[in-house]
């Protein structure tokens, strides 16, 4: 009786798994065809259609750096620099070491009307440049692996050798773990606190306060990168790399992550 029940469970489980896999294949096939369609539209010069199809494919595949890159290219061809740069930035978050993405992003930035002088300290720039070469998942993984090495070596020595482990090798592992923790903290700050965003409107007035009645501090152009420091109702407080800050309507910028 028991064996009969067990057999039924196995068969049922197998059927369910096959159905799920089938659905997965169908989904994947659909995503592929959408992507190919979009690429064909791009090749035909129909960039509006290509952008629409890339956006649709992204809804089901939000983690693809390639999709954001292609979407950025489509917007670039449509001369929508702000959207192009936004999508290149999103692509870069997912594939931070992709040379094509970096190249296109820098090229698009070079065409911007406005230029923001980066007045941050050199070490801030260096840290940001370094952090940008790694995905969030990679940083977490690195931290977990270094913790695994530290604890694993300790457990190994405790159970298979006598005494507490405190040789130079394990000290080095601890240092590595601490460095990875610092790295993780910095990446977290970069990702969650210094939320970067791209200006999407051609001309944006930045105000001293979260209201259009407040005095205008300065003007910005499409495609510029800003850091969102605060949000209030429909306004966002932004900071430029040059140190200038102010308030803009949230609808005129778009965050890269999120």
């Amino acid at each position: 009786m028991k064996s009969c029940l067990n057999f039924k469970k196995v068969v049922l489980g197998g059927v369910v798994m096959m159905l799920v896999m089938q659905a997965g294949f169908v989904w994947a096939a659909e995503a592929m065809s959408s992507f190919d369609e979009a690429n064909q539209s791009y090749r035909d010069g129909n960039y509006e259609e290509a952008a629409r199809l890339y956006t649709r494919t992204l809804e089901e595949n939000p983690d693809s750096g390639n999709l954001y890159y292609n979407l950025g290219n489509a917007y670039f061809r449509l001369n929508k620099l702000g959207l192009a740069i936004l999508n290149y930035e999103k692509a870069l978050h997912r594939s931070p070491r992709d040379a094509d993405i970096r190249y296109n992003l820098n090229y698009a930035r070079g065409l911007l009307e406005y230029k923001v002088e980066d007045k941050r300290n050199w070490y801030m720039k260096a840290v940001e440049a370094f952090l940008q070469y790694f995905r969030w998942e990679e940083v977490i993984l690195g931290t977990l692996i270094s913790y695994l090495l530290v604890v694993g070596s300790w457990v190994f020595v405790l159970f298979f050798a006598n005494g507490l482990p405190w040789g130079w090798g394990r000290k080095a592992l601890i240092v590595l773990f601490l460095i990875s923790l610092i790295f993780l903290g910095a990446k977290n700050i970069e990702r969650n606190m210094m939320r970067d965003a791209i200006v999407l409107e051609k001309n944006v007035s930045v105000h001293y306060g979260p209201s259009s009645a407040d005095q205008v501090a300065f003007q910005m152009g499409e495609g510029l990168k800003v850091y969102v420091m605060d949000r209030r109702e429909k306004w966002s407080r932004i900071l430029l790399a040059s140190g200038e800050s102010g308030w803009v309507p949230s609808s005129q910028i778009s965050e890269v992550v999120g």
């Binding site: 983690d63 693809s64 390639n66 094509d100 457990v155 405790l158 507490l164």
Partner: protein, 632 residues
């Protein structure tokens, strides 16, 4: 046969070794003896070097003025052998007689220093200057050989701007010029004294200019002039050709000139004396001489930009007046065989800034720059020169192929217009060939034969045509979860391990503690093994049961109270229990009772009831519980 083979190998090794780029640096003079103020041409030749070379700086040669006159380079390849060389030319003008050894000149090539061999020169006196030489040897208290090595303590030169009897004027022939146009800076000395020119105390400040110095005349031109009612002897002591590099307003500080004069000017006969003597001598042995510093006033120079109107596309800043000619070494050639075009541009102007005319991209040819030679000379007061370019054209197709006209544009400052010169168009008759010409490896590796990559334009990179598999994100998530789980497990294990290690350390220091802590677990594990004995009806097993109970009790109490197990008597047990619980404690009595039961039952021959066994076990358990509470 072997000797022939060996010789061939050696020859090839040497040849290949040379081809592989052995650098050879030599220096030579066109003659080893000359008269004072003659020109000696010094050449430094560098063979086998790769990359660009700077003109070597000559060390100061005492007794000589030195001038750099140009460079030429040559690269040739014949029958697969190649050679390259660069020559730098200088002019040495001896200022005094004697035997001189020019020490080796250090030349930097590709980061290494090479030193040329010494050059011996013999300079004899000029017949016209015998009196001066005699005067000089009389003036210096030195050995009779007239050695110029004696150090004379000269009085500090006097700067006397208010003395109207002697002054220097520095003049330019033009005050408004174009970039790269020659302006002649002339130093004229006006004097009423018996004067000797000693050279520059401070060189002129001419930064922003490319400079060419004119060698001093053998006979200094001089004339008598009237300035402000007074008669002076005027002599041109120095000339410089300056070429400004950019359009700007310049102020040239002419520097300071050192002269030595006889103390008092003579009213009438001075001029006769100057007519008879060289300007560079003066006074007899007993004349008192004073050194003077003369500083001409600064000169303003305006360099205006080139006119934008009519500027040809290929104009690169060359200024002057030039002519150009071109020729090719053959008009009929096989496919893939080289044809050399020789381009010569000659004329007045800064020849060093001349560039080869641009050659457009030609589908029918591969084009290589082979040779460049420049030769600078002075034509009166104008710097002139000739630059020769050799360009190799290798036709890649057969048929009648044209080398198009090449243009060279320059700005003529006299006419203030741009001029463009053209080479003729050459038509080559190229016959087909099966053998493909290949540049020798040594040359094909040289940078000068390589074309630069020119970016024609910029655009974004193309789209991705394949979606990456989703596995990468799944991988990240899976890996993070897996490693996180492993880390949690390991952390727990670490906790357990640390706790265990801590306990072991405690136990190592206090064995009694170990016994006390482990007594209960040890007793219980032994008690679990008694279950099978408890239910047995076999008298022997019953005996063993009680025997074990007794041992468990004894062991447990010994561990708990730090007593020795061996030889523990009832008396020892009673005393310990009395000390711990008191003599009236019921548990003490029960433990003693159990001990008695175990002792008796151990040797009983008849079957023991199960209830007794259970009672024994119950007492044992209660004992353990009670003792655990009181004694940790």
């Amino acid at each position: 046969m072997k000797i022939l083979l060996f010789s061939t190998v050696m020859f090839l090794s040497v040849a290949l070794g040379l081809e592989a780029g052995e650098v050879v640096v030599t220096a030579s003079a066109d003659r080893n003896s000359a008269k004072v103020s003659d020109e000696i041409h010094l050449t430094i030749r560098i063979e086998g070097a790769q990359g660009s070379l700077q003109a070597p700086r000559l060390p100061g040669f005492d007794g000589f003025d030195t001038f750099y006159t140009g460079r030429s380079s040559q690269i040739s390849f014949v029958n697969g052998r190649s050679s390259s060389s660069v020559e730098f030319s200088y002019v040495l003008v001896p200022q005094k007689p004697g035997r001189f050894t020019l020490k080796g000149i250090e030349v930097q090539v590709e980061g290494r220093a090479y030193t040329t061999g010494p050059i011996n020169l013999e300079i004899v006196e000029d017949a016209n200057q015998v009196s001066r030489t005699q005067t000089q040897t009389a003036s210096y208290t030195s050995a009779s050989t007239g050695s110029s090595q004696q150090t004379i303590q000269e009085p500090e030169p006097v700067f006397a701007p208010g003395d109207e009897n002697i002054f220097v004027k520095a003049t330019v022939d033009k005050t408004t010029i174009f970039p790269n146009e020659q302006v002649l800076l002339t130093y004229s000395l006006y004097t009423r004294y018996d004067t000797r020119y000693e050279g520059f105390e401070e060189e002129p400040g001419v930064s922003g200019f490319w400079i060419e110095e004119f060698p001093p005349e053998r006979e200094v031109k001089r004339e008598t002039v009237r300035v402000g009612g007074m008669r002076y002897v005027k002599a041109e002591i120095k000339k410089l050709a300056l070429f400004p590099t950019t359009a700007a307003d310049y102020t040239i500080s002419p520097g300071k000139i050192k002269v030595s004069i006889r103390q008092e000017p003579r009213a009438t006969s001075i001029f006769d004396e100057f007519f008879n003597d060289s300007f560079f001598t003066g006074g007899g042995f007993f004349a008192r001489r004073e050194n003077r510093l003369l500083e001409p006033p600064p000169i303003a120079l305006k360099v205006v930009p080139f006119p934008s109107r009519g500027k040809p596309e290929d104009f690169k800043g060359t200024v002057g007046n030039f002519r150009m000619s071109a020729s090719i070494d053959k008009a009929t050639v096989k496919q893939d065989e080289p044809v050399t075009m020789t381009l010569v541009i000659e004329g007045e102007g800064n020849i060093e800034t001349l560039h080869k005319p641009d050659i457009p991209e030609l589908d029918e040819f591969k084009v290589y720059d082979a040779d460049t030679a420049s030769n600078l000379y002075k034509s009166g007061d104008v710097i002139a020169g000739k630059k020769t370019f050799e360009v190799v054209f290798i036709p890649v197709k057969a048929g009648n192929i044209r080398i198009p006209k090449l243009s060279f544009s320059y700005f003529n400052p006299r006419l203030e217009t741009y001029q463009t010169l053209y080479t003729p168009e050459f038509v080559l008759n190229v016959t087909p060939s099966e053998t493909k010409f290949k540049l020798p490896v040594a040359l094909s590796e040289k940078d000068e034969f390589k074309k630069q990559i020119k970016v024609e334009g910029r655009d974004i990179h193309y789209i991705r045509e394949r979606m990456p598999p989703r596995d990468i994100n799944v991988f990240y998530r899976g890996a993070i979860q897996g490693i996180l789980f492993a880390n949690i497990l390991l952390t727990l294990l670490l906790g357990v391990g640390l706790f265990r290690d801590h306990q072991e350390r405690l136990y190592a220091r206090d064995n009694a503690l170990r016994r006390r802590r482990r007594a209960k677990a040890f007793a219980e594990s032994r008690m679990r093994r008694l279950k099978s004995l408890m239910h047995s009806k076999d008298p022997e097993k019953s005996n063993r049961y009680f025997d074990e109970i007794g041992k468990i009790l004894t062991q447990y109490l010994a561990d708990k109270f730090g007593l020795s197990v061996h030889g523990m008597t009832e008396y020892d047990l009673e005393r310990t229990l009395t000390d711990t619980f008191g003599s009236e404690d019921p548990l003490s009595k029960e433990i003693l009772e159990l001990h008695q039961i175990c002792e008796e039952s151990r040797f009983a021959k008849a079957q023991v009831s199960e209830s007794l066994k259970q009672r024994a076990m119950k007492i044992l358990r209660e004992t353990i519980q009670r003792v655990e509470k009181t004694r940790r």
